[in-house]
């Protein structure tokens, strides 16, 4: 095993995703801890253009695997495993994205590496020390693993690396076995459509699990009408079929940046916060004073929405 770190970039439909540049920061910090070099892999897509973009401060080498146009986990597992065998790094860093979770566990399994997913903090020295949350952000844990190890990092926890770098760029022949590719991406589709565009709204009244029953949604629409606001929601409301997908705020829904975001009965899971933390002013109403939504709220009311919302409607009638 070397002291090096290998980070695997992510792109989709022709563009590197933000987490790729966050991986560089996480990877560089780990490499500083182990005293090694930071290697970055990019597998498929426009690898030369991606390599140019990934050549940022602190990156020692970019390895390109020119195979395929889009993410395919069978290709990724083979390519990353082959590159890992070549470089023998101490830490393998991947994104805790939907695609990351589609290949990282298989790579770790194939290479017999301990895997720590969804890390929000990382340190490496003789071993790996990871910080991760449990119970929907209610607690944090410290987890230790021996090196070599594999990790996935939560998005937006590390800053993106910006400055220009002077990495070497090398094409890597991963000798992809086509017979082992047993899944095929046939296309992409934008979910939902509908007549409401919550990304354009200046004021959003957003509702979560706390509303309890579908019939109670009337109360939320009454409030939205009184405020001249648009109704959006967190995931469980859409999963239950009470609102269409185009109303969903969060990682798998829309990212919104309204002037005012009024979060009602929303606990504030990390996936939800990812979609609304750019709001100018966040107001939260929740029965749980420790709900993570209050970590991002400017103003808060700890109370029962069924008591507070009717009073608020009254204020604007």
């Amino acid at each position: 095993m070397t002291d090096d770190v290998l980070a695997v970039a992510e792109y989709r439909r022709g563009a590197l995703r933000d987490v790729s540049f966050e991986l560089l920061s996480a990877g560089r910090a780990l490499a500083d801890g182990t005293g090694g070099q930071l290697h970055v892999a990019v597998v498929g897509g426009d690898v030369d253009a991606f390599a140019d973009e990934l050549n940022r401060e602190g990156v020692d080498a970019v390895h390109t695997v020119d195979y395929g146009e889009e993410f395919n986990h069978d290709v990724y597992v083979q390519a990353v495993a082959a590159l890992h065998a070549e470089l023998d790094p101490a830490v393998l860093v991947m994104p805790n994205s939907v695609d990351g979770l589609d290949y990282a566990p298989a790579v770790a399994g194939r290479l017999d590496l301990p895997l720590v997913t969804d890390c929000v903090g990382l340190e490496a020295g003789d071993g790996l020390v990871a910080t991760r949350e449990m119970y929907g952000s209610k607690v944090e844990t410290t987890v230790e693993a021996p090196l070599p190890a594999a990790v996935t990092i939560r998005s937006a926890e590390w800053p993106p690396t910006e400055g220009a770098g002077d990495a070497s760029v090398e094409a890597f022949d991963a000798s992809i076995d086509e017979a082992a590719i047993r899944s095929t991406v046939t296309g992409f589709e934008e979910a939902g459509g509908g007549d409401v565009d919550i990304t354009e709204a200046e004021v959003l009244v957003s509702i979560g699990r706390g509303i309890g029953e579908e019939d109670n949604l009337d109360l939320v629409f009454d409030l939205a009408e009184a405020l001249g606001a648009t109704v959006s929601s967190s995931r469980p409301i859409v999963d239950s079929g009470w609102l269409p997908k185009n109303r969903q705020v969060g990682q798998s829904g829309k990212t919104v940046t309204p002037d005012v975001y009024l979060a009602i009965g929303i606990s504030g899971a990390v996936q939800h916060v990812a979609g609304m933390k750019g709001a100018d002013l966040v107001i939260a109403v929740n029965t749980d004073p420790n709900a993570p939504i209050f970590d991002v709220a400017d103003y808060g009311v700890v109370g029962d929405l069924f008591d507070v919302i009717p009073e608020l409607i009254e204020q604007f009638s």
Binding site: A108, D112, L115, M134, V143, R182, E190, G228, K254, E311
Partner: protein, 262 residues
């Protein structure tokens, strides 16, 4: 079909930490939310097909019988519950250890399809399904939001839910493991008849030696060394008082932002 389900701990709003775990008095156990959708998807495949058996498997103590019986009440045919003193001794059963346990079950049961939830609501590793697929040589897809099996049974058409409201359409060869995302279906409530029938369905208590494994197989490489409440990053200004006072204070803030102005 095999459905891997987990009993997960949900924690009350106010709680205390006891060593490396939440104090038991603040914890309730339930079927993992994501797994509920996986069970429903499996039962729907069974109902639409002929000669499909749905076997639910879980790793958990005797208490977890209650959880897995929910899967039986919803239509799974029989269940396997893996537990052993050596498993109980692990503060954190890591992905690799779970994979070794479930691999042994897959090898014994030889399913065509394995479903599980995207992640467990408590430790949220989100990795067991894909890790299992790699270990047993199955194909896989993570974060599946729609699933359709081809008539000849060779392939599944799935939609993976990516970030930002985008779905990826993928054809996956079978046998495969799919991790199921919430919202893929509408999980049924167990009927009284289902609950009654579940009482007579088999839950096979299974030890490491039953699976041909040893204590070493559940010895996790990962070690949980600390659990703590994160320091609040909140600088929220809270409005106290009765609901009408809270609402009045909120209204002032909203009006200052121009909300409600005609």
């Amino acid at each position: 079909m095999l459905v891997a389900v987990a009993e997960v701990a949900t924690v009350e709003d106010e709680f205390e930490i006891d060593g490396l775990a939440i104090d038991e008095s603040y914890v309730e156990y339930d079927l993992n939310e994501w797994d509920d959708y996986a069970v429903e998807e499996a039962v729907q495949v069974k109902e639409a097909g002929e000669d499909v058996e749905v076997v639910a498997v879980t790793i958990g103590p005797e208490r977890a019988d209650e959880t897995i019986r929910m899967a039986l009440a919803k239509g799974a045919d029989r269940a396997i519950r893996i537990w052993d003193d050596a498993i109980a001794g692990q503060a954190l059963l890591d992905v690799a250890a779970k994979t070794r346990l479930l691999s042994a079950v897959v090898e014994a049961e030889a399913p065509d399809l394995v479903l599980t939830g995207v992640q467990a609501g408590d430790d949220a590793f989100g990795a067991t399904g894909v890790s299992l697929a790699e270990a047993v040589g199955f194909e896989w897809a993570a974060v599946v939001h729609d699933m359709e099996l081809a008539d000849d049974g060779s392939l599944a058409h799935v939609r993976r839910e990516l970030e930002g409201g985008v779905e990826e359409l993928t054809d996956v060869e079978l046998p495969a493991v799919f991790s199921i995302q919430t919202g893929i279906n509408e999980p049924r409530y167990a009927s009284l008849r289902g609950i009654r029938q579940a009482q007579s369905k088999e839950i096979a208590a299974t030890s490491l030696s039953d699976l041909g494994l040893t204590d070493d197989d559940v010895d996790a490489a990962l070690e949980l060394v600390e659990m703590y409440e994160p320091e609040s990053e909140s600088d929220t200004k809270f409005f106290d008082g009765a609901p009408d006072e809270q609402a009045a204070a909120l209204a002032t803030v909203l009006r200052e932002k121009g909300v409600g102005a005609e």
